[in-house]
């Protein structure tokens, strides 16, 4: 399901290695509310290692300039940094250099794709762009587990074009109803957009099966790799998806940088979304010609230092080994679920212990609202996410409007997971709800 080339062998990281890794993340060495910080919110945003911060600083100290314009030495150096970063990040996800478009984050990436499809759907478009057009009678298919970022852009695309939005339901354990998927993916389906890994349940979707179903009917596949690119060996070519998006800040890089992968032939044929400087060939007062991808989607000044930082983050991850990181987080995820299931009054969302999941767990505490759970844990120095995690429909489907989520990364130790579990075990007594049931 996932490509593993050049990502190292798959023994999990060891606690000794984790302690060494933690030295690279100064932010983790602090007290929060007089307790050692236990950071279990990397699913929302991850921390940056020193090498990433140094890459950004080095760029500003030595090379800062405009890229792809100007002939002076710094401009050339900055352009080299920017394009080298593209090569590094593209290779990290198994793409070619010209198949990676910089965006602000995954949300911006999904909007780029949906708006470009929209631009292909209205007005006069060239023949090559028609493959992206949707309209009345066509269907855009998502899943019930999507993050709002992979739902609302498609709602808007359908609203603008008259296409119909449909969704593949999930089972009670959070896994995708593949029988329904097989029925819902039809000749009418023009786009199938789904997440690789759920940010709430940790479910890892069967990408190969979904891609096969979609491609059999000629639909374009858009993969939200936000929760997979940081955590497992990702090879977009091996997965055979048409588009994929990810966010840098979830994979050890700063905010403000992310990427869209698209097959070269598709990106070069797709109408642009944002237009303006740096993405054009000839411009007259009446019209403009556009550069090939990726520049055609990169109007205006780009996030250059952030790109350099993201490349440094990818190097850090590759050197540690994505397969090993994935194996480590799978262990932490198993420990989280097993531990939570052993605490009375806790319901873990998603598959039970023993079923593969990402290194995260969202859960409900009987009688205690997620916001209160999060506050209680914060007092113990433990940072978790509370709320709907930008997945309201998924929560509604599971009979909730919020949950608490602990999400791990390569710098988390088993001791931290255990500290979290010990704290969660005290939540219901603190709020005086031992009698409440789920």
């Amino acid at each position: 399901m996932t490509g593993t080339a050049n990502h190292g062998h798959s023994l999990p990281l060891t606690d000794t290695e984790i302690l060494r890794i933690r030295n690279d993340f100064p932010i983790l060495e602090q007290l929060v509310n007089e307790q050692p910080l236990v950071y279990l919110d990397s699913g929302a945003t991850s921390q940056n290692p020193l090498s990433v911060m140094e890459a950004e600083q080095e760029y500003y100290e030595q090379r800062n300039s405009a890229v792809h314009r100007g002939a002076h030495t710094l401009a050339v150096a900055a352009t080299d940094v920017f394009e080298d970063a593209r090569s590094t990040v593209a290779a990290f996800i198994g793409a070619d250099d010209n198949e990676l478009v910089w965006t602000q984050n995954a949300t911006a990436g999904l909007n780029l794709i949906a708006y470009s499809f929209g631009n292909a759907s209205v007005g006069k478009v060239c023949d090559a762009a028609k493959k992206f057009a949707v309209g009345p009678g066509d269907e855009v298919l998502v899943t019930e587990m999507e993050h709002h970022a992979n739902l609302i852009p498609w709602q808007e695309l359908c609203r603008r074009t008259g296409a119909t939005l449909r969704f593949i339901p999930i089972y009670d354990d959070g896994t995708l109803d593949m029988a329904a998927a097989a029925t819902l993916i039809t000749e009418r389906t023009k786009v199938l957009a789904f997440t690789h890994v759920s940010n709430v349940t940790g479910v890892i979707n069967p990408v190969a099966e979904l891609v096969a179903l979609a491609h059999a009917v000629g639909a374009l596949v858009v993969l939200d790799a936000c929760q997979s690119a940081p955590h497992l060996p990702l090879d977009v070519k091996a997965l055979d998806v048409d588009f994929a998006v990810f966010s840098g800040h979830k994979m050890l890089a700063p905010t403000g940088i992310g990427g869209v992968y698209g097959r070269a032939a598709l990106l070069d044929a797709m109408p642009p979304f944002l237009t303006g400087g740096s993405m054009i060939t000839t411009v007259t007062m009446e019209e403009a010609g556009y550069l090939p991808a990726p520049q055609r989607f990169e109007a205006g000044t780009q996030p250059i230092s952030q790109a350099a930082a993201l490349a440094a983050a990818c190097n850090y991850l590759s050197e540690t080994g994505m397969a090993r990181i994935h194996a480590w987080e799978a262990e932490l995820g198993k420990r989280l679920v097993k531990g939570l299931e052993g605490i009375e009054g806790i319901r873990v969302l998603g598959p039970p212990a023993g079923v593969p999941r990402a290194g995260l767990a969202a859960f409900e505490v009987a009688g205690v609202h997620a916001h209160d759970v999060g506050q209680f844990l914060d007092a113990a120095g433990i940072a978790v996410r509370v709320g709907h995690h930008c997945a309201q429909p998924l929560h509604r489907r599971l009979g909730l409007n919020s949950s608490t989520r602990a999400s791990t990364y390569l710098y988390n130790t088993t001791a931290e997971v255990d500290a979290f579990l010990a704290a969660v075990a005290g939540v219901r007594a603190y709020f005086g709800v031992e009698g409440a049931s789920l």
Binding site: H369, A370, H371, D372, G387, H388, N401
Partner: protein, 153 residues
């Protein structure tokens, strides 16, 4: 008292379960076709999903009834319960002054000490002001009440 204990005082934990005034029926949620002396407001905190629909009934210039339905954290539910116990019998000006005082304390980042003479049981919520992320939870019902009351004539 730890900061956490000052946030979750016993009275707050109790009020969050008592939910005084929390008897608005499902068939009243849409708030359509209300008489002129009744106002209703729905408030949602999209960050955490806390939600309340609150109805205020007036007679002459006074609040004669308050009913709500809601789902949220203990702070938001306790705050709605405490508010419900306080406003019946107050006139518009008194309710407005009460809400203004509560809002000022909530926004003070822990600098203002709540005056129990004015805020009564709601003074127990003053610990919330030290937790900026929770101020919206405490204010939810009060903002709804303010809007609902403004709709009445």
């Amino acid at each position: 008292m730890s900061a956490l204990d000052s946030l979750y005082q016993q009275i707050i934990l109790e009020e969050s379960k008592t939910r005084r005034g929390g008897d608005l029926r499902d068939d009243q949620l849409d708030g359509q076709h209300l008489p002129a002396n009744v106002g209703q407001c729905h408030q949602l905190n999209p960050v955490c999903g806390d939600e309340i629909t609150l109805r205020i009934e007036t007679a002459e210039d006074e609040v004669s009834g308050i009913h709500w339905a809601g789902d949220g954290c203990s702070i938001s539910m306790a705050s709605a319960s405490i508010l419900s116990d306080m406003v019946v019998g107050l006139n518009r000006a008194e309710v407005a002054a009460l809400i203004a005082n509560f809002r000022e304390v909530m926004r003070s980042r822990g600098k203002l000490v709540a005056d129990e003479e004015i805020l009564g049981d709601a003074a127990a919520l003053s610990g919330v002001s030290k937790f900026p992320a929770r101020v919206k939870c405490a204010m939810l019902a009060w903002v709804a009440a303010e809007d609902a009351l403004n709709q009445t004539r």
